[in-house]
C-alpha cells in the first residue's frame, strides 16, 4: 500500500495526487489550532531538506467540522495523524474519529519519546477507540525497537517509521541559521539509511505491520524498505518535487520486485533479514533458492527454523510468510 507521509500533501489542494495513493494521511491534527512557526520554515540541504513547519493545522474542532467532511468526498481511504501534548489530548481526538485509520504522531514537541511515555499515549488511545492505531516513531531514540515493543504491548496495530531527525543549516554568507527556529526536521534522501535501520530493527522486534518512510524517491527505495520489513511505504519529501511520484514509484516498485523474482512487492517483505538469520548451511541454501526462484518456492518454516509471521492484518505483506524470517517477536 502506498501512502503519503503526514504533512507532505494537502489532499484538498491537490486532490489528483491524493487519489493516486492507496490512502491519504492528513497533516497532524492537534487539539487547538496552530499557525505553526514563524518563517523561514524550509531550507534545502545537500541531500535533504529541513522543515520547521511546527504542526500548522486548524485544530481538532475545525478539522472535524470542515476538513474531514471535505476529505471524505475524495473517496480515498483516510488516515488521520493525531498529535497532542499529553496522552489525554491524543485520546480525546481519537475518541472523536470514525471510519479512519489513526496515526499517532509521537514525535510532537514536548512529547517525551521514551518507551514508557509512548506506551502511555498508545494505551490511552487504545482505550478510547477501536479504530486501527499506528504509532509513528522518531528514529532519534536510544532504541527504537524497544519503543516499538512498548507500543505493541500497549495495543498499537502498526508502526509508522520514521519521522524526521533534528538538523541545522547555516546561511553560507552570514553563517546564521537559515530556519526561523534554527533547528528543524531533516527529511529526504539523507534520512533513507536511518529509516531502513529503524524498519529493520522494529521488524525483528515486533510483528506489527510497518509503514516505512524516509527519503523514498524511487521504486527501488520502496522495495528496500519492504525488504527491511515494511508492509506499506509512504512518500514525503519526494512529493514536493514530483507530484506524479505515486504512480511512478508504484510502477517502478512492481518492476524492481519482478526483476528480483518476486511476483508482488509484498513478497519481498523481510528478505533483508534472510541472510542474517540463516545459521546453518541448509537454510542458507533454501533462502538462496527462494530468492532465486521467488516466493513461489516456500520454505518449510519447521525445517529452516523460521517462525511464521503473525499476520492478521489486511496489509499486503500477508504473502510474506513464504519468505524466511528472522527469529521473530520478543526475545
Amino acid at each position: 500500500m502506498l501512502l503519503n507521509a503526514s504533512g507532505c500533501l494537502d489532499a484538498l489542494a491537490a486532490p489528483d495526487v491524493a487519489r493516486s495513493l492507496d490512502a491519504f494521511v492528513t497533516k497532524t491534527v492537534t487539539p487547538l489550532p496552530r499557525g505553526g512557526n514563524s518563517p523561514v520554515r524550509i531550507a534545502e540541504t545537500d541531500v535533504g531538506m529541513l522543515n520547521s513547519i511546527g504542526l500548522a493545522n486548524p485544530g481538532r474542532d475545525r478539522f472535524l467540522a470542515e476538513t474531514l467532511p471535505r476529505l471524505r468526498e475524495l473517496g480515498v481511504p483516510l488516515w488521520v495523524s493525531v498529535g497532542g501534548f499529553a496522552a489525554a489530548e491524543y485520546a480525546e481526538t481519537c475518541a472523536l474519529l470514525e471510519d479512519v485509520t489513526i496515526e499517532l504522531n509521537l514525535s510532537c514537541p514536548n512529547v517525551d519519546e521514551a518507551p514508557e511515555s509512548a506506551a502511555e499515549i498508545v494505551a490511552a488511545c487504545r482505550a478510547a477507540t477501536e479504530l486501527p492505531l499506528y504509532a509513528k516513531l522518531s528514529p532519534a531514540t536510544r532504541d527504537v525497537a524497544e519503543t516499538a515493543r512498548a507500543v505493541e504491548d500497549a495495543g498499537a496495530d502498526g508502526l509508522s517509521l520514521v519521522n524526521t531527525i533534528r538538523g541545522l543549516t547555516l546561511d553560507e554568507h552570514t553563517l546564521r541559521p537559515r530556519l526561523g527556529t534554527a533547528v528543524g526536521g531533516l527529511s529526504g534522501p539523507a534520512l533513507r539509511p536511518v529509516a531502513l535501520a529503524a524498519v529493520w530493527a522494529c521488524y525483528r522486534a515486533v510483528s506489527l505491520p510497518i509503514v516505512g518512510m524516509g527519503g523514498v524517491a524511487t521504486g527501488r527505495d520502496a522495495l528496500e524498505l519492504i525488504a527491511a520489513g515494511a508492509t506499506h511505504v509512504a512518500l514525503g519529501t519526494v512529493l514536493f518535487a514530483d507530484p506524479d511520484a505515486p504512480a511512478r514509484v508504484r510502477r517502478e516498485l512492481a518492476a524492481e520486485a519482478v526483476a528480483r523474482g518476486f511476483a508482488e512487492p509484498s513478497h519481498a517483505r523481510g528478505v533483508a533479514h534472510a541472510e542474517a538469520r540463516s545459521l546453518d548451511a541448509r537454510s542458507r541454501v533454501e533462502v538462496e533458492k527462494a530468492l532465486e526462484f521467488g516466493p513461489n518456492l516456500p520454505l518449510d518454516p519447521q525445517d529452516s527454523g523460521a517462525s511464521i509471521p503473525r499476520r492478521g492484518d489486511e496489509d499486503p505483506g500477508a504473502g510474506a510468510g513464504s519468505i524466511a524470517r528472522p527469529a521473530h517477536g520478543r526475545p
Binding site: 504533512g7 520554515r41 524550509i42 531550507a43 531538506m49
Partner: protein, 223 residues
C-alpha cells in the same frame, strides 16, 4: 486553468545584464495569468525553484533568473537541448481588471512584469535597480522609467494609479504604505508550490497562510 508537469526542452539561454533569460518549449503547459509562477526542476537539487513567467513567446515559456544560489545557478547553467521538469502554472496572478495600471518593479522582481505589460497593452512602468548593469533588464518591457539606487521607485511613483508591483520585501512594504490598494507579488521560500508543504507560510489577513495557494499576488490590504 490546468496545472501540469512536463519535461520541457531548453530553446535558449540569454544573458540580460546579470540575469539569464531561460527559454523553454511550452510542451503541454499553459502560460497562465501574469503573476502566476512555475516550479522549475533545478538540475542536481532536491527541490524545484519557483519562477514567475517572464514572457510567453509563441510555443515557449521564458523565465528571468537571478543566479543567487545553487538552484538558480544550476538553472542558468542549462544549455539548449537540455530538459527540465516544470510544474505550473501555479498560484494566483494579478487582477487585470484595472483602469490606470502602473507597473512597479525592483531588481529580479521585474521578472513577471514583461508578460503582465503585454497583457495590459503596455502600460507605464517604473523599475528600480541596484546598478546600471542590472537595469539592462528594463529593455524587456516597453515604457519603463528606470531609477538606480540610491534612488528608489517609491520616490518616482505617481500615487493616483492602479499599482501592480513585484520586488524585494522592503520595496513592497514601501509601496503598500503609499498605495494601500496596490496589488503586490510576494516571495517566500517554497518547497512544493502547490500547497503540500506549508513551508511558504506568510502572514496574510493576520494569519500564517500559504503564499503559493493564496498568492503570490495579494491585495495590499491582505498582506
Amino acid at each position: 486553468m490546468v496545472t501540469r508537469r512536463a519535461a520541457l526542452s531548453v530553446v535558449g539561454v540569454e544573458p540580460v545584464g546579470p540575469y539569464t533569460l531561460l527559454r523553454v518549449r511550452r510542451g503541454g503547459l499553459e502560460p497562465g495569468r501574469p503573476g502566476q509562477f512555475f516550479m522549475l526542476e533545478a538540475p542536481g537539487r532536491l527541490l524545484p525553484r519557483p519562477m514567475s513567467l517572464c514572457l510567453a513567446p509563441p510555443g515557449e515559456l521564458a523565465f528571468l533568473v537571478d543566479p543567487i544560489g545553487p538552484g538558480t545557478r544550476a538553472l542558468c547553467a542549462l544549455g539548449p537541448g537540455d530538459h527540465l521538469r516544470v510544474l505550473g502554472p501555479l498560484g494566483n496572478g494579478f487582477d487585470l481588471d484595472v483602469e490606470r495600471p502602473l507597473l512597479v518593479g525592483g531588481g529580479i522582481g521585474i521578472a513577471p512584469l514583461p508578460y503582465l505589460s503585454q497583457a495590459l497593452g503596455g502600460p507605464p512602468a517604473i523599475l528600480g535597480f541596484r546598478s546600471p548593469r542590472h537595469a539592462e533588464a528594463a529593455a524587456l518591457l516597453p515604457r519603463a522609467e528606470v531609477v538606480v539606487e540610491p534612488t528608489y521607485v517609491t520616490e518616482a511613483m505617481p500615487l493616483d494609479r492602479d499599482v501592480l508591483a513585484c520586488g524585494p520585501e522592503p520595496m513592497l512594504e514601501a509601496v503598500r504604505r503609499l498605495v494601500p490598494d496596490a496589488q503586490l507579488a510576494w516571495e517566500a521560500p517554497m518547497a512544493c508550490g502547490y500547497g503540500a508543504c506549508y513551508g511558504c507560510a506568510v502572514e496574510i489577513d493576520g494569519e500564517l497562510r500559504r503564499l503559493c495557494v493564496e498568492g503570490p499576488v495579494l491585495a495590499a490590504a491582505r498582506s
